[in-house]
Symmetry: C2
Subunit: 308 residues, 2 copies
Amino acid sequence: MINKLIENIKKTNAPIVVGLDPMLNYIPEQVKKKAFEEFGETLEGAGEAIWQFNKAIVDATCDLIPAVKPQIAMYEQFGIPGLVAYKRTVDYCHEKGLVVIADVKRGDIGSTSAAYATAHLGKVSVGSQKLAGFDADFATVNPYLGTDGIKPFVDVCKEEKKGIFILVKTSNPSSGEFQDRLIDGKPLYEQVAEKVASWGEDAMGDGYSYVGAVVGATYPEMGKQLRKVMPKTFILVPGYGAQGGKGADLVHFFNKDGLGAIVNSSRGIIAAYKQEQYAKFGEANFADASRAAVIAMKEDIAQALQAL
Amino acid sequence: MINKLIENIKKTNAPIVVGLDPMLNYIPEQVKKKAFEEFGETLEGAGEAIWQFNKAIVDATCDLIPAVKPQIAMYEQFGIPGLVAYKRTVDYCHEKGLVVIADVKRGDIGSTSAAYATAHLGKVSVGSQKLAGFDADFATVNPYLGTDGIKPFVDVCKEEKKGIFILVKTSNPSSGEFQDRLIDGKPLYEQVAEKVASWGEDAMGDGYSYVGAVVGATYPEMGKQLRKVMPKTFILVPGYGAQGGKGADLVHFFNKDGLGAIVNSSRGIIAAYKQEQYAKFGEANFADASRAAVIAMKEDIAQALQAL
């Protein structure tokens, strides 16, 4: 799947991913109104609104982008109907040829980690059947529990030709509380990065491993260092746009081949119509505003990558 | 909810929690057969088998125990129908007066962490309605992302009078890879424990905080030290039984008041009928075997606590 991701990036000439993290207050009134008329002000109504919102944005942007990253928490908060909307979104993105990165940040041990890996990337045995639960292409994983938590994911990835991105240095302001603390003279995030590189060694696609890393756009200097520590690791970079990361900050996350990183923007794309510069589209044309924001993001990053 | 947990512990005289982590291979053939006859060898069939299995165990043990801990990964692997079985289990345990600890190990940042907290402990706004997604009483949370990841959970806990258990030292063999590394002369798990104690200070129930910690039974010496670092923190202790922890190892996780910890057993209880000592019950009476295993666990821990 890392090969498919790279193929999609080359085809669209865009190392970007659209974060499908729908908050209800991002969704235009007319979409919510229609969903609530049909299903009431219920979890089902919220799920329907989310699904219709996502579908419109995917339709308007899928020819420009290689991948999407739904943040499952935004669906999980609406219980079962929210997760039904999540699953419909994953399946629809697959129909459109997009790679789906499930931002689930799961992490546990042994058979429990294996169950999460099965849930999001693999297939579960039921009697004589092998059935997929959520069936994304990549999942994000938390490293705090060590190799016992990661290994079951890597095993499923090998079997299913899928991939993971392991949290190394997250984009949030307090990520340093534990991640930046020095251990034997090196910050914890670098210790984790070394492990990520080693976990990825026997899980190689053509040029990059399918064990990737998450490093926030908001920490470009650390990105530069981590690029060196994990040369064959694809880096998923959140924090661009709304969280403050800019195109110029991103150049060091990439290798000389123009690959090695994929930059996520969520709010900046899916709620673009709420920004001053895209207000002209109006609420009714929210998906066209998202398309314009994708084009602007592609240009910003392409320009930054000229410095490579 | 920490007060309710303590009340339940006192009422049952049992600081234990039954881990409802149903693997399909724990479930007796007759239960699976019936579910597959009705729903086929499908995710729905698996969900039905899990639900019937859980219900029988809850019915057979609920008068003896204060709380249950469903491990959501075991349900998530069966996709939406698995999560429907999870939700039915949570609701049924509430009907029976049990405290429900959702073992979800979620952790993200800002609005995403808030969404997870809402999903599992809170209520989400849909139009003019406030609706619960999964509605457990406690959730387990991963600390790797720092205060930004924890604060939204604490906020929801305050509003809903619920609680969390933050991973400090996990029970698995490789938990030391990162958690035991020394930072300023103290292991990472202790640094996390200090934060847990401080996060919990303004979130106090009557005697204990509703910000708790997870410390594995498999590391009793660390439990002893962590008990001191977090005197008002309730500790959820996994790893008893199948993972190797014994009653005698547990005494240091408790305070002199006989409180301060709650010990989880999953496989050892729910798959008791597969153990030699409970084989006499037979597959048909698997729930009675679970009841006998609960009674034995209570005795083992009561005996250990006499040393307090």
